[in-house]
């Protein structure tokens, strides 16, 4: 059991990371498309720069996605509120931007001497400027994606609830139908009995043998009807 739960948890975090990776790649491509025409005159940027941009944004979005995932797991089995999700997005965006910038600065620039994308573009950007710009991008695109995800989950939950409600309704309908059938079977039409008895009263004056036969029939009918009722179980048998 624990292994399954762990595997499920591992699956969850892997999916979260992949989600961040995909979102980061989309934003990286958008950013690349945004910068490409601007720096065109200075010699242009190519696939090498796109390759630099990808880890830049992907890393940040993976961190953001993991923070949002933590906010969701913390609230399980309930859904986190919109406020908490928003808070997670803002926190995750700033923390992700800061942490990933530190990693890039230490690994890419200092250790590998590669230089960051912003160095290639040639704009002098302070680290605070970079953090805020990246945080905004993550809050905007990450926030939109989280909103879409939350509405998708809500939709799925509502559909499940609808199925359950329909099942309950169908059950109630079925029970009612069974009940009505039982009630129908157990109802010996009092009007019919009343009319037959009135006729019987008159008939005994004129034709006692005929009346006797009629009464025989009526008692036979009632006996069968009673047996039916008790067999159907709609009415518990009464001692007579």
């Amino acid at each position: 059991m624990a292994a399954i739960a762990a595997a499920k948890a591992g699956h969850f975090w892997a999916a979260r990371a992949a989600y961040g990776l995909g979102l980061g790649a989309i934003v990286a491509v958008l950013e690349f498309a945004h910068y490409a025409p601007l720096v065109d005159e200075r010699g242009g940027i190519g696939l090498a720069e796109l390759a630099l941009l990808l880890p830049d944004w992907c890393g940040e979005f993976v961190l953001l996605s993991l923070v949002v995932g933590y906010a969701e797991v913390r609230e399980l089995p309930r859904e986190p509120s919109a406020l908490k999700l928003g808070l997670a997005v803002v926190l995750g965006a700033f923390a992700g931007a800061l942490a990933w910038y530190a990693v890039l600065d230490a690994v890419l620039r200092d250790l590998l001497g590669l230089g960051l994308f912003i160095d290639r573009v040639g704009q002098p950007v302070t680290w605070a400027g970079r953090i805020f710009y990246h945080a905004w991008m993550m809050i905007f695109f990450g926030g939109l994606a989280v909103a879409v995800e939350a509405s998708l989950r809500r939709h799925a939950r509502m559909l499940a609830e609808l199925r359950a409600a329909e099942l309950r309704r169908a059950g109630a309908q079925q029970r009612l139908a069974a009940m009505s059938l039982g009630a129908l079977q157990s109802q010996i039409d009092p009007e019919l009995v009343f009319r037959t008895l009135s006729r019987l009263e008159r008939l005994y004056e004129d034709d006692p043998t005929g009346a006797d036969r009629l009464l025989d029939e009526l008692v036979g009918f009632l006996r069968r009807a009673l047996a039916d009722i008790q067999a159907s179980g709609a009415v518990p048998a009464q001692p007579t």
Binding site: W136, F140, H155, A183
Partner: protein
């Protein structure tokens, strides 16, 4: 010719969402720190306002086209998504094209590349915003259906309770009917006079019982009549073994009383109380008012609780009926009578009978 899946409220919500997205999108300008180093704050704010208006123009184009797709009559989901994609791309293209044309009259390669980048960005933004809106609306529709389904279920449950009540009520009839008729039949063969009297009493009983059988409430007077005609039928059968006494004040006659409740108790008193005893006994029916309550008791001098093996199905059904009609306000008490037999008392809240005499 508004398509059914697009209502004014969803248009209004969609517009509000588009406005919010455009507004948040425009704040990107404020997050560019390099601006604060080279421009005064007032200029930045003015630039932000202009940027917001520009984005609003593009967002508006996209929104108008998306709303327009609602008027394309198609049931195909694929076509609907293609239309949506087209609406976003064309809307963004139109809006951004206008913006670029304002800045530079001729389009060069770089301007086209900028246009492409912006359209791609709008595609992601508007696509995500639309997905969010779409699933939210679907979820709201599903929630409304859940509500509707629950309402129907509650209604079905109510009808179920009603049907159960009907069945409980009709339970008294067939057995009594059968036993009496079997008796009538036998009597006609041995003692036609008594048989005739019994049949006449029984028809009188049905005449009293029938019009009221299916109603929820009747008057005490009517119920007492019913019990009296019922006991008349049995009197023919039991003769000296049955003595009956009624003590029902006239001023209580018009009060409301649950149907066939008194009959059930009377029937029980005969069946479990007097019938098993060779010497028979007496049945005493009395009604009295106590404060805001009406108490009607049926006392017999029969075999008693112990001999009858506790209350039967008829008593349980009567309790269920009382609970269904009055909730906790009514009760049925069974106690031992001295020196012998059972005293059953029904207590109901006092209300004027609605139907009067039948």
């Amino acid at each position: 010719m508004t398509p059914q899946w697009m209502s004014w409220s969803s248009l209004w919500r969609g517009g509000l969402l588009a406005l919010a997205v455009v507004f948040v999108l425009s704040t990107q300008l404020l997050f560019q720190f390099s601006l604060y180093e080279s421009w005064p704050l007032a200029d930045i704010l003015a630039g932000w306002l202009q940027y917001f208006v520009e984005q609003l123009l593009v967002g508006g184009c996209i929104f108008a086209l998306i709303a327009g797709t609602a008027f394309v009559p198609t049931r195909s989901r694929v076509l609907r998504h293609v239309l949506l994609l087209l609406a976003i791309v064309l809307g963004a293209l139109a809006g951004e094209f206008l913006l670029i044309l304002r800045q530079q009259p001729s389009l060069d390669a770089s301007a086209i590349a900028i246009l492409g980048a912006r359209v791609a960005r709008w595609l992601v933004v508007a696509g995500l915003a639309y997905l969010y809106f779409f699933f939210r609306r679907q979820a709201a529709q599903a929630a409304a259906q859940v509500h509707e389904s629950e309402l129907q279920r509650v209604e079905l449950d109510r009808r179920m309770t009603e049907a159960r009540l009907q069945t409980l009520r009709s339970q008294i009839e067939p057995h009594f009917l059968f036993n009496t008729l079997a008796n009538v039949q036998e009597l006609y063969r041995t003692d036609p006079g008594r048989g005739r009297r019994m049949l006449a009493s029984f028809v009188a009983y049905l005449r009293t019982a029938l019009p009221r059988m299916r109603h929820d409430e009747t008057t005490l007077a009517h119920e007492v009549d019913l019990a009296r005609t019922y006991l008349d039928v049995l009197q023919v059968r039991m003769g000296e073994r049955l003595k009956v006494r009624f003590d029902v004040p006239r001023d209580l006659a018009g009060l409301a009383f649950p149907p066939l409740a008194l009959s059930t108790l009377t029937e029980n008193a005969i069946k479990h109380g007097l019938n098993p005893l060779p010497e028979g006994g007496a049945i005493d029916i009395q009604a009295r008012r106590e404060g805001r309550q009406l108490k009607v008791g049926v006392t017999d001098t029969g075999a008693g609780l112990r001999a009858s093996g506790g209350p039967g199905g008829g008593i349980a059904n009567l309790r269920a009926r009382l609970a269904a009609l009055y909730g906790g306000e009514a009760s049925l008490a069974l106690e031992a009578n001295t020196p012998r037999g059972i005293r059953a008392t029904i207590t109901v809240p006092i209300r004027a009978g609605s139907g009067g005499q039948a």
